[in-house]
Symmetry: C2
DNA sequence: CAATTTGTATCTACACATTTT
DNA sequence: GAAAATGTGTAGATACAAATT
């Protein structure tokens, strides 16, 4: 029997007692899910304590625990012991960063496509591959993880990034996103917990959610994730893995310092975490002659899946990523690849290998790195204080009162497409908002410059 | 306190009381998993009833339920109410049908590669695509579900198979297996139950297991799955979806009759199941001028994902499949594709489209269908009683006493590679065993004929 | 065909850790 | 720094459905 009537309580979620059906936990979690998905409960809303709902509905409170649990595993809500339960950052909204269909009137500064102008060497390489008569042998099943000489090309390529590997424990996937899918599917199970930065690659967030993996954000400072916070969270949550973008993280552009890398490696090793290292940007450092810090893959020697996508550095249309893993995961990953892809297109892989082996890949990368530097200098002219470190995007603070949808829409109406920080947030964060500004998708310098003008005008106006 | 000492009971699984640690359910399920994976508990073994283990260990029996539950969701065991709990068919063994690395001394009659000899038109089409200057536009992000004209080509292609669709609710995936991954990931959640034939495509079994989906085998007769059995199972298990290969099912080669298709469609519609229709073989019927039965996709008008892989009919090396779905799933599937692949290689898709649009695809398919018919006639000469219906494989009964590994190994030693029925079994089945014999991978007619001789000799010897 | 065996689903009880007050 | 609030993890009790005897 309820102790109170609760009529005057402002329960943010107040399920309708009359609509309760057995089993209770299912009818309740359906109701909660519906309210969140329909937007009746907004991101960041604090839900009533489990015991309060239980009291109100006259149910045992672990039944409510079960309701919250189900929604938590779906990524709709998250709980903090002692604090309460909250609606997740973007429980349902479409934050997937897909490929926008080209609209000539909007300047693309949201998605990070990579410069696509420079595709001549790629076309040349394609012709070479075909003329060489490889086609016949490529159009057959074999080597599901990639042909040995393609993997060798991959090993050579990632060497530049201080990630050392060997074709015998590498694989080719259909792009970095696909490699992440393979890694998550092969090595994790629903309910497993993975440490991430508080802001991280939004497609990873969605992917993890699709697999019903639970993401646990770990605090960081200007050098990236804090090792102590990670270690503490291990004890607290029983983490299974960790996802890191050590160099020029997406979207925050933070790079882990060498000390930080070593400290994190030591925690990862001590706590037996499984690291997924997503290396999207080191090529920009290597190609522009900047110092390259050691990969965690090298520092750890095991427990680590290293992924290097070729899309951004070489050619957006060819979907190839190289993956390196410790030998003990080879069976699991082979299974994952067999089940997800059977195998990756040999043609794409062969073209990429050709580009690496004939040296064009290095030339293309250098060219793209130059462009990136030019656009980042341009960006810094508009927004002083930003350095011109390599990177395909910038992380622009815009103050606290700029809600997700509205800000993006306002800017869209002014003619630029950008992404708001909430797309990248693992939990709903109050306070500062940011925009991620892509430096490489506007099409040309003039469009990009116009975009920056629009952006600066909007920011000065609204602050 | 245990009532009995159990020392004389032959408990097939008898956990060591002294090694029990808290939490009990974890330490126990770890132990059970280890025993199964290490082979100490073999496929089909009946485990002790939950209450018996609980009694023996002096624990509440729902704790054992939890242990069994965890292992069940991992696909290690399965339970039948009233009967007991059993170790699953191939709980851990590597049954994934991957791509075997070529060994010239072994005749390949296991994996179904598709004839790869006839790749000249594919090479021509590749050159055409490149010369046409498409390359530049292909090497860019756009149209994550596939270019409209590629999808239109797909729509035209599947029309032959009485599957009608429209480019606006179609997508291109990187092969049929990849399409299955997209469908499962986008539309199902861990724990969801999917109806399947008792023997079905082994990679689907593994894929479902990776996603922690539970497969429920449904009885069938010579016309395929029984509608009444399906309907009954809906009520019993609360099925969410169903996976069917309506034409020349893999591996049983059964084709659903037209009446059966209509009856199943009616159950699927009435029970709100989500159908995944994997069409791997209708092209063989179309290409050899045989009658084509209506697809369930057409019969259902909704609730159905239709998948048509191009690998077998056209070219093993190009990884393309067309998928058609009801409009209401477009968002979910777009998300799935964005998260798994970002997008499929445009180059492969473009080559396939070119082949369809310039008519070569039809010619290639006819050629391959002819070869398939020739090899199936050859097969029927060796094994009378088999008809020469289209199909890339045959399902050969070999009697009850031919265990999985041993049979495959025996035949491997004699020089042929084949797959045993246990690879395709959803639950462990006693009784008749089968071999799936691939008709299209031996390399040439002479090798295939030698393979059949070896096979027949083995069978007559051992029965 | 009724009683028994057996698996599955749901709800309840309790212990514990962290955060806030 | 103790008490209260709050989420999470584990174990137990009960009801029920299907298959077997």
């Amino acid at each position: 029997m309820p102790i109170n009537s609760f009529d005057h309580y402002p329960l943010s979620w107040k399920p309708d007692k009359t609509k309760l059906t057995v089993p209770y936990y299912k009818s309740l979690s359906r109701d909660l899910e519906e309210k969140i998905r329909s937007g009746k409960l907004k991101a960041g809303t604090k839900l009533p304590p489990q015991r309060e709902i239980a009291d109100y509905l006259d149910l045992n409170y672990t039944t409510i625990t079960r309701v919250y649990d189900r929604c938590r595993k779906k990524g709709l809500i998250y709980g903090v012991t002692g604090k309460g339960t909250f609606v997740a950052a973007h429980p349902t909204e479409d934050v997937t960063i897909a490929v926008p269909d080209a609209d000539p009137d909007t300047i693309e500064m949201g998605s990070v496509n990579g410069f696509s102008e420079y595709s001549l060497p790629v076309e040349e390489a394609t012709k070479t591959v075909i003329q060489r008569g490889y086609l016949r042998s490529l159009y057959e099943y074999s080597y599901p993880l990639g042909h040995p000489h393609q993997l060798a090309a991959g090993a050579r390529w990632i060497e530049q990034f201080r990630a050392h590997s060997d074709p015998s424990h590498m694989a080719i996937c259909a792009g970095a996103q696909n490699a992440l899918t393979v890694a998550l599917l092969s090595l994790f199970s629903p309910g497993d917990k993975i440490a991430v930065d508080p802001y991280t690659y939004s497609n990873f967030i969605e992917l993890a959610r699709m697999f019903h993996l639970v993401l646990v954000p770990i605090a960081g400072d200007k050098d990236g994730m804090l090792p102590e916070a990670l270690e503490k969270s291990c004890h607290l949550h029983g983490l299974k893995g960790i996802y890191l973008i050590p160099t020029c993280a997406n979207p925050t552009t933070l790079t882990l310092s060498e000390t930080r890398r070593k400290e994190l490696a030591s925690v990862i090793s001590r706590q037996h975490l499984l690291l997924i290292e997503d290396d999207i940007s080191t090529w920009l450092f290597a190609a522009s002659g900047r110092p390259v810090l050691p990969s965690l893959h090298d520092l750890l020697q095991g427990q680590s899946i290293y992924i290097c996508g070729m899309t951004k550095s070489l050619c957006p249309g060819l979907r190839i990523a190289f993956m390196s893993f410790p030998p003990e995961y080879k069976t699991a990953i082979s299974h994952g690849i067999a089940n997800i892809n059977i195998k990756t297109s040999s043609l794409d892989a062969e073209i990429i290998s050709e580009l690496i082996l004939n040296g064009s890949a290095y030339v293309i990368a250098r060219k793209k790195a130059e462009w990136a530097e030019q656009t980042s200098r341009l960006f810094a002219r508009f927004f002083p204080g930003f350095d011109t470190d390599p990177g395909y995007y910038r992380w622009l603070p815009i103050g606290p009162d700029h809600p997700f949808r509205k800000t993006e829409q306002d800017l869209m109406e002014r003619g630029i497409h950008v992404y708001h920080s909430e797309r990248f947030a693992v939990t709903h964060e109050e306070g500062e908002n940011y925009l991620r500004i892509s430096l490489c998708s506007a099409g040309n310098r003039y469009r990009f410059e116009r975009g920056l003008q629009i952006l600066r005008a909007y920011i000065t106006e609204n602050n």
